[in-house]
Symmetry: C2
Subunit: 433 residues, 2 copies
């Protein structure tokens, strides 16, 4: 079948009618499905629920003469720091183990930059008149909400299949008001792109005008391949060190999508100097994080090698869902000229770039048919997608049968929204006739 | 024996020599004891270590159709909110369940006031030229460090056995720059005083000039009696509501000294309006706190009644330690006119008010003999005790035999420091002779 743009008005009208009929049928199924968030499914949670019984003997809580049940060890248990250093390919002393959410740690870093300043800051950011922050987009809405809540001016940087457009990044960091950038270097949220080695190297080589320029390196999907084997990835911390700006980057990761999403452990990694600086600041806000949970995780996940084995089991659950999403997209949407997408090999999302001006409408139609996707615009700063095009699909949570139904709804709505544009009339106008 | 002040110089000199001899003997024991922090002992941790096996069946994680293992429920599991409402005598919707540290939640409230403003704030506090904060002292050093780190001007308010001197508080809050006050209403750290009903009522009735005046009500020892039965305590939240300023107070508590110090759950409680306001702000920094741990705690502690039973078991371990401290103080220091103290019935500390100008010296001598106590001055803003008098003893952590030794050291050092003052010569000057 030809792309919509090559079809006659009459052909499009026929297609529109077919799609509307299909949409009405789908609506009658009274679906109530949520693909809005990268939530692991119950099967995945069950997969790792041995965690609940991994640590039962109180005496096991005593390690290296210290009792994990008591106060202390702000930067985390040594074994937990070693575990994360293994995963991230850095040194234990470059890590700080946090609570159940790496997002909280990212927030803390931005908040401390704002209220106290970073290691290299001439003054706290709240004293600066204006702060600009780079937001490769489409990106992660929760990142953008953090920089928005502190009133930073967010600047969209286009994404490429190799990462953020580095020509633009290099140009923008010449502005001393530009204080940082959000990055998801591996299986980026939402497109699933992995930064190329060149991109990573160009990040390390950045020479920003702001002395306290901050790379927020959210390595959320560092070992989250669902298709194929684990892909090694360069260590940004040593690259920044080699490039002479060791304090420019903070890296983040967590077990939220390895063990339990609400009850995992998180890590931040940076230069030893940065970790020492932040440990001092974090020491005002807490005495220590949950070390029993750190111990549980180290006992359960053991090391990188074993964690990758656990991730393979997640992949067995995740892969068929992504295949389903991509299969239906391919079958129903390819060659219509109304959308394109990348086939990710890891991460939690498929990102569909719909025909400009049709994303919001597609999601509205989906919602009416009982299928909720991430809000339109959410992947851009301030929730505004300038082309009204990007749609994030999170296939992980629903059961595969539900996912199949939801994707039928989605593809139908995507086509209706495009046809509405081509024909200059809405579904309602047609059905009212 | 008469007080030192009534003794002749010769008698004092004799006593000095006796004490120095005793001190030298004690030093030879090569002690290495820490009474600096309110840390539960290993026995107490063992007491509650059944917690480690309380939740082992994954299906038990699913309550009210929601899976505690997954993301969601930012304000906490309903059962955890009900649990804390029971403990604090407030309503579940007035609670927000946090991570492992109530200190972190307190920090967050002050930090959000600074960066975003409170519900009643005309503007974020970082925009105000100057912020003053009231610090009843002696008080908790970690509280003071929070307000210090944000650059607030801390104003010492004297403590009385009934709580902070409310005449002074009422006078000070007429200043619109005064934005808040730290309170530990029950078994205050370090003196172990419980605010009288009148004090609590006067807090609720405060009419501060600042519209966003903030009472930080750290109810850390809300059910922490070690001597005698549980003492009910007025609910500040409903009192503030009745007095017409429902948004003036945030209350805090945690299980840090009920279950595991590093791995408990915390709560903040306030008006529904405040909780909704803060939930929105906290929603930017995290998706949810550790709900599996919330579930563990609710399963283990059940309700207020059962929690009080658990606390009685803690009391069986704690009470003999406090008795030991008080017995040795009574035996060795009473009637010398060089120190006084309160006999607390709950909490984690004994606070000795030493002869002015001798606290720092006492602690220095203790340290030399291998006994570490909380740093001198720590219980005052900026770490400066104006009278160099208050000494905080934390008897919970050491074994009782060690505690006995440590108290002998402490009393000896206390007396040496006083005698040095009376005689105008130091220990070193004498021993060098």
């Amino acid at each position: 079948m030809a792309t919509y743009s090559c079809r006659s008005r009459e052909e499009l009208r026929m297609e529109f009618k077919r799609m509307i009929a299909r949409y009405e049928d789908l609506k009658h199924e009274n679906l109530n499905l949520d693909m809005s968030r990268g939530k692991p499914s119950k099967l995945q949670l069950d997969l790792v629920s041995d965690m609940l019984t991994i640590l039962t003997d109180p005496e096991e809580c005593i390690i290296d003469g210290k009792d994990a049940r008591n106060y202390g060890d702000l930067a985390g248990l040594q074994c937990a720091r070693e575990y994360w250093a293994d995963i991230l390919d850095c040194k234990p002393e470059q890590t700080f183990i946090g609570g159940n959410a790496s997002l909280h740690m990212m927030y803390n870093i931005i908040a401390r930059a704002f209220t106290h300043g970073l290691k290299e800051s001439p003054q706290p950011w709240c004293r600066e008149g204006r702060i600009k922050f780079l937001c490769p987009s489409p990106g992660y809405d929760r990142h953008f909400r953090i920089t928005e809540t502190f009133g930073f001016e967010m600047i969209t940087v286009p994404m490429t299949p190799y990462g953020p457009d580095m020509d633009i990044v290099e140009e923008l960091v010449a502005d001393p008001l530009v204080k940082g950038i959000w990055c998801i270097p591996k299986y980026s949220n939402p497109q699933g792109y992995t930064y190329s080695d060149e991109t990573v190297q160009r990040f390390a080589n950045l020479k920003p005008a702001a002395p306290d320029f901050l790379i927020m390196w959210d390595n959320a999907y560092c070992i989250h391949e669902f298709d194929g084997v684990y892909e090694p990835f360069p260590d940004i911390i040593s690259l920044c060190e080699q490039a002479g700006r060791p304090n420019m980057v903070y890296e983040f990761a967590s077990t939220s999508k390895i063990t339990f999403p609400g009850s995992g452990i998180s890590v931040m990694a940076s230069s030893v100097e940065n970790i020492e600086y932040m440990t001092k600041l974090f020491g005002v806000q807490t005495i220590s994080y949950d070390k029993i949970n750190q111990l549980r995780h180290v006992k359960y996940l053991k090391n990188k090698e074993h964690t990758i084995e656990v991730m393979k089991k997640h992949a067995e659950i995740m892969a068929p869902k992504f295949e389903m999403v991509l299969k239906i997209l391919r079958k129903q949407v390819t060659n219509k000229g109304i959308a394109h997408w990348h086939h990710p090999k890891g991460g939690y999302f498929v990102c569909v770039a719909a025909m400009p001006g049709t994303a919001r409408r597609t999601l509205e139609l989906c919602k009416r048919a009982g299928v909720t996707l991430t809000e339109a615009g959410a992947t851009y700063p301030y929730g505004v997608d300038p082309h009204d095009s990007m749609i994030r699909i999170a296939p992980s949570y629903p059961a595969i049968e539900d996912l199949e139904k939801a994707m039928h709804v989605f593809c139908t709505c995507l086509k209706i929204a495009a046809l509405e544009k081509y024909l200059g009339m809405t579904l309602e106008q047609v059905t009212e006739l």
